[in-house]
Symmetry: C2
Subunit: 767 residues, 2 copies
């Protein structure tokens, strides 16, 4: 037991002062753990400005065999309180801040100003479990406590400025959409009967067309503005409205009109595109068949050329080859039908044909059979149906002939000789959908987050005795549920904007890269939408289950986003194949596989022991370039390992198909890793450009949370591969908790910044 | 390069034979990895029966500087093929089997029969990546390949026997329910209009009551059979039917009738219980209020005793104190209303009162206001509403007075003096719901799994060139999605049966333990239902989105299971508190906290280095006692750590409430760990009792998959805490893949064994 008055001792050993908060917290449970003792002593030893007697004192006060007396602890509290009074009330402080404040007020030397001193103290703080300044309430003076509660009222950043920042070039169209959707005609309503609901959706779609919004991506000659970015923005904004309308809009203007624009030629534009854009010609995109969804190449519908009459005969060879889930099937007058083109007994693969479905009286034409798909999980305002064709004859010019044509005599020509390349070029016209769909999905996720967060800032449940009940968002479990998803929504927002810009400016050269990117982001983002909405519904409890609070529709309508426009699981495998091809190209002109093995081995060796795998300093752990590096290394290692596995299977005599199948789970995991890397890079890049430092600061925190939360989810992998050590992964968890608590204070402002049209936030619990 | 004929060499070194399959696979990619070489050599060195020249040969053939010539590899293939011909065609073999077969056919010594030899070979096999015998197709003779495809046709176990085993004592009631629900009156239908749907549900409920099934848990005097197990079985079976019916049934007979049975006395039974059981008295369970859901103790509705008239005055003090989400609110004639009992100006806490709602003409009585909750995510066949009371007077005897009574003069008496204990005793009557709800949820999950698995055994998509397309369930990604969930459904089935039995036989002594168990299983199981159904919907692609294939209702109806009957997040914290109390009791009569710290330190030291943390042998990794031990250690470590954290916060001066809140995320994680441990233990225990060895064998595999898949999910934790090493966690992943592939072959039989009423499996994709 130490008896001498502490202050006297400390006059002789001022550099021990900054250690007091740490020692206090460490001893507070009367059991300084061996690792904690070790760390405190280590740090003291590293600080070469400490005198021998200062070191001795730290050794003494951290001696587990001799715990400090209550009197000694009391004297520490007094000193800590004095220092804490000098702390700036305008910001949130940590234990390390307090330590350094003690140094400032009591120590003559300037050694404590160095980054390494701060890092050392932060490392100890993390090891002790993160402690916020506020947690010292019990040792604070009354005056300080008052100041603290003032601090909690600090107004957040300017949400309008953040909205402006997020909307960038699209601000004008977003504002226009906000105004349009505020019109009473667009008021949201619950319509359970599918026929009535479909009528409403059609009516809304016509209003959109009347505004010129349907044709906006078409050439000016066809009533458009030739602007795919504007189209995507309209679609994104519809994600805040009724999502049946968004999909109906996408089917008509994006898929049907888009197939004419992407696969047809001028004659088709002249004849059909303008009417598609005004909705005078409602149409379908009839690609998927009951038997073939993901595997488009094996579609069974045939389009056989008859040179006698210069017609194509569209035919469904069996019941299972009927077109399936076709949007607009009940309202449509015409369909872009994907079928195997056969001429002169030769097969030329899948092409698209414009096939009339109904006459002016809206009766189906001879040979056309349409069935309603009936009720669905959601999107019941969209008229999905099945369509079969029995030898339906259409004129030769109804072939959308941009990538393949048939002359009167039935001779086939194409600017792309390879059957495979031609197929993938045509399919490339689908990429637009993959760029846009997740944007509307993200809108839905943002809406869900806004409702759940606003609810959790009003709803109280349970609390300390005789005090007000606690706000839901003040529960760490609630912060853990919602804050990482909020950060991810911001991160995805940046990534989607990046992809959209790349897509709008795509050339033949970078089109494969963009396709891979679109596939990865579509999957990653739509899975996130499903997950986010589920978490938000649960976070709102019973209130979340009532239709009036929006989750019924938000969840049900977006559920299919993970399936349509390319099943996510299939797309992630496409991503992996794309990355393997990139890797192969990297090694081109050398003996690929030999080099591969060598490189792989070097790579494996170079990372073990990995730089910094044990560094748990806060500054290091909050370093964005370090996060990006970890994400990159993961992606790189996974693609290398995947390449090696496939090679191994091939050498064992497996055919390529089987070898890929064997590695399917690794491929899907790689797809995720790729998406994560791109999202982080683009989010970080966007933040770098921000000029407003206050906004940049909060976005930086969001970026840290997204990165570290993702790393935490993969900590098993990082540990297995030796990229991180266990004390580091444990530190990551503590920092994620801390970031969640920090971002919680800005949560309301962060959701307000989404710029969701106010009148569409109709959930009673959110207003 | 080795030139001498291999067979001659091997005559002199026969013990090298078993290494050939491993060497072949290892060299097949022309790059034996350093870790693989090391392992093969290590194992060879451990086998003391190998001669020096045999060891030399293995060193030579595993020398990375001198890869085997094509001729040498060819001669290995020949020998492997010969051995493989002798393998039993009736079972699935691995690389290690092949190795041991080679030993049997070519080696004189019996050393190879030892378990350690098998373990060694399996360890190498795992390091090389699991290789099934089938993967050797390329080195097999034609005859063998034919035999292989026969093997794939091997019929699975007898599903009817498995059903019998699973249904046990409840077989009779399950059969009765199957027959009842097969009646055309119970045919499933889609009704979108909520009023019409509610009428249908009410009609069905009356039919159930007419069968005597509503009252089945009530005393015989009230038309029942006094059998809670039968009640739970009926409810479980309704999970296969329309879940609105299940909930309507539960509200009327379980909650309303149950509150009379559990909280009332004989006079209430005589007057109301029989009519509740026949549905002549439709009733509500009015506990939750808009302002207070989870925090029942703070309900605001009051029941003030007026001794003048011997009446209670039931009053809703403010709009937000209205009863919320009350099932049967539109059809009900009476409600069990939970309110703060006040008599002689004294508050005695929450009690239940029977309050008439409507007259014979079904008009609401004066002072009663009811509003429809409107459409919900699902369960639209249940009439949930809000109820407010304005000074509604009810006779004194309408107090359900089992745990607290008021005499004519207004004097309060209770057999339980402590306000807190009384409250929790009354709430204990809710436990029945927590036992039953997840059982119906599991039925929904089983139905979803059945539909998704049957679809995946019919649906083909993509495939090797010029061959039939691949069945979905032959994709490893599809197996990974569905097989662990199938195993978990079986595991939960065992756990729910265990809980139900314990609950039916509960005494005052074990009631707290059972409440903790019910809270843990309710949360764990209903979260699993939500997750399972989402995975199944996605696994069925677009077809899963059509209402006809059931996922629309299955998902929407069960979504609230994670919230009602106790919010899962809140329940998991209750579980953690229960476990902390257990721990405290364990240390009772000693200085708890001191002992705690000491014990914690010992505990921490004893596990590092942890036994077997690096053992990657297959036998070890498939050892159920080892799995149970890992689950137990995790739970134990988490509860110890939690105790320490809370203690640390308390010592820092935090109040108990804040200290718990700070540890909230750890509490929730502990709740999960507890549930997982119980589920595994009970599943393993149930399997031990199985007499039919064939069934036991497949159940064992399911148990292994459940255990290892769970361990894999927590691998980050196991690595962080030092319970496992990285080569072990990597081996776990490989075995999970392998088990998924093995169970896939029995998947159809495994879902058939659920015994789901055939006519309720109406999904077109599942028939």
């Amino acid at each position: 037991m130490v008896a001498t008055p502490t202050q006297d001792i400390l006059k002789e050993a001022p550099n021990v002062l900054p250690f007091l908060p740490l020692l206090y917290v460490g001893w507070a449970d009367k059991a300084l753990m061996p690792s904690e003792i070790k760390l405190i002593r280590e740090k003291a030893n590293e600080m070469n400005w400490l005198t021998a007697s200062e070191r001795d004192l730290i050794m003494e006060w951290s001696n587990p065999a001799q715990p400090p007396s209550p009197e000694l602890m009391g004297s520490w509290v007094k000193l800590i309180r004095e220092a804490s009074e000098k702390l700036d009330a305008g910001s949130r402080q940590s234990l390390a801040d307090l330590s350094l404040q003690m140094a400032e007020s009591g120590v003559a030397t300037t050694n404590w100003d160095s980054p390494s001193a701060r890092m050392a103290m932060e490392e100890v703080e993390l090891a002790l479990g993160y402690v916020n300044f506020k947690d010292f309430r019990n040792i604070l003076s009354d005056q300080q406590r008052e100041r603290l509660s003032e601090m909690e009222q600090i107004p957040c950043f300017d949400a309008a400025e953040m909205t402006q920042l997020l909307e960038g070039e699209q601000a004008e169209m977003k504002q226009r959409m906000r105004q349009l959707l505020a019109d009473p005609e667009f008021q949201l309503r619950i319509i359970k009967d599918k026929e009535a609901y479909r009528e409403q959706t059609l009516k809304w779609s016509k209003m959109m067309a009347a505004q010129g919004l349907g044709a906006i991506s078409y050439p000016k000659a066809n009533g458009g503005e030739d602007d795919i970015m504007l189209y995507a923005t309209v679609f994104e904004m519809l994600g805040y409205h009724d999502i049946s309308l968004a999909i109906k809009f996408g089917v008509q203007f994006g898929l049907f009109g888009g197939s004419i624009l992407g696969l047809g030629t001028q004659k088709h534009y002249d004849k059909y595109l303008t009417d598609a854009g005004t909705l005078d010609l409602p149409g379908c995109f009839a690609m998927t068949e009951t038997g073939h969804g993901s595997n488009v190449r094996q579609l069974e519908t045939t389009a056989t050329y008859d040179s006698q009459t210069e017609e194509f005969i569209i035919n469904t060879p069996n019941e299972n080859a009927g077109k399936e889930y076709i949007g607009n099937a009940l309202h449509g007058k015409m369909a872009s039908v994907f079928a195997q083109l056969i001429t002169n007994d030769e097969h030329h693969g899948v092409h698209a044909f414009l096939v009339p479905l109904r006459n002016d009286a809206h009766e189906t034409l001879p040979g056309v059979r349409v069935e309603d798909c009936g009720y669905k999980v959601g999107l019941n305002g969209v008229d999905n149906g099945r369509i079969w064709f029995t030898n339906v004859r259409i004129p030769r010019e109804n072939l959308l002939n941009r990538f393949g044509d048939v002359d009167a005599q039935g001779n086939y020509t194409s600017p792309i000789p390879s059957l495979g390349r031609r197929f993938f070029t045509m399919l490339g016209t689908l990429v637009g959908g993959r760029v846009c769909v997740p944007m509307a999905g993200l809108s839905a996720a943002k809406k869900g987050l806004t409702i759940a967060i606003k609810h959790s800032l009003k709803r109280r449940q349970f609390g300390p005795e005789n005090e007000a009940e606690t706000l839901l968002l003040d529960y760490p479990s609630h912060q853990r549920r919602l804050m990482p998803l909020l950060a991810k929504a911001y991160a995805l927002d940046a990534a989607h904007k990046y992809l959209l810009k790349r897509f709008a400016k795509r050339t033949e050269e970078d089109s494969r890269e963009i396709e891979t990117l679109a596939a990865a982001l579509k999957s990653y983002s739509t899975w996130n939408t499903t997950h986010t909405l589920q978490m938000c519904r649960e976070a709102c409890g019973g209130k979340g289950y009532l239709a009036e609070n929006q989750f019924a529709d938000l969840k049900a309508d977006t559920d299919i986003f993970t399936t349509f426009e390319g099943d996510n699981t299939v797309l992630m495998q496409l991503v992996a194949k794309g990355l393997l091809t990139d890797l192969k190209e990297e090694f081109e002109n050398t003996n690929f596989w030999e080099l591969f093995v060598t490189y792989g081995k070097q790579f494996a060796e170079s990372i073990s022991p990995f730089n910094d795998s044990g560094n748990t300093g806060e500054e290091h752990l909050l370093d964005t370039p370090y996060h990006v590096d970890l994400f990159k290394k993961r992606e790189r290692k996974m693609v290398m390992d995947l390449g090696q596995s496939i090679r191994r299977h091939r050498k064992m005599g497996m055919n390529p198909y089987d070898a890929f199948i064997r590695c399917q789970n690794d491929m899907i995991a790689l797809g995720h890793a790729h998406a994560e890397r791109v999202v982080l890079e683009q989010f970080a890049h966007a933040i770098e450009q921000v000029e407003n430092l206050e906004l940049q600061n909060i976005l930086d925190k969001m970026c840290d949370l997204f990165a570290l939360h993702t790393i935490e989810q993969h900590k098993g992998w990082y540990l297995e591969k030796g990229y991180m050590k266990t004390d580091k992964t444990e530190a990551v968890t503590r920092i994620v908790d801390k970031l969640c608590a920090e971002i919680r204070t800005e949560a309301n402002c962060l959701v307000n910044s989404f710029g969701i049209p106010e009148h569409l936030l109709v959930a009673p619990i959110a207003v």
